[in-house]
Symmetry: C2
Subunit: 110 residues, 2 copies
DNA sequence: TATATTAATCGTACTTTTACGATTAATAAG
DNA sequence: CTTATTAATCGTAAAAGTACGATTAATATA
């Protein structure tokens, strides 16, 4: 039905999925990398850096902001974006916890 | 248009997005966690463990198999699944590389 | 005040994802 | 050979995601 049955999963599973979902588009990955690279906050340069329409970038920025990975400051007519350090760290630890699950020494599927 | 403009992004960005996309559903997160937990490979138990229809689970398993995170062995009338250790490690290092980008000591957005 | 600039939002078209019942294919058991 | 079991695939409905032009809102400048 196009929408996941989140009720049947626990909070951690849904959180991991939500965070992964926001990383599941190359444009958003590129935006985050660009924000890390420029360090100083950036606004509409993102539109120039990435080759997508202004409306599309704005939409992606909204999603990144909604999960809390970035924050934006209004500066005159433009808006300055940057990584949200605390929330980035939270995401990191949540994903690390999942990614670092122990691999079985022997798997039955050879 | 529903499909991402992958041409305008580099390979790393597209790979990160692809891997994130497969983790972007709680059912697939739950399946992976269950495979880690059971260690020994599992087949249709996954359908019982998670409360989704057999066809839906089969679809999710297909996606996990397509990105290489799991593999399946036919055993009689049932199929045994497990984590693909090498590919899991590859995904881990790719995502770690991205997640561990350095945070700026001072961000201009206060 | 009028005009320019910047970014968010609206409306829309199209694609992909999610979910499930029904069917099919393959193997095991009688 | 027939029947049961298991899982993949098909078909389909509904929801969500992607992208962009056009519009709107807010601020800066002349």
């Amino acid at each position: 039905m196009g929408s996941a049955k989140t009720e049947i999963f626990n909070q951690q599973q849904n959180e991991i999925a939500s965070l992964a979902k926001v990383l599941a588009h190359p444009a958003r990955v590129a935006i985050l990398q660009y924000l890390f690279k420029t360090n100083a906050c950036v606004c509409g340069d993102i539109v120039d850096e990435i080759g997508l329409a202004q409306a599309t970038i704005s939409q992606h920025l909204k999603e990144l902001k909604q999960v809390g990975l970035i924050k934006g400051n209004v500066e005159g007519t433009s808006v300055c974006y940057c990584i949200h350090p605390e929330n980035w760290k939270k995401m990191k630890s949540l994903l690390h916890e999942f990614l670092d699950l122990d691999l079985a020494q022997n798997s039955c599927c050879s």
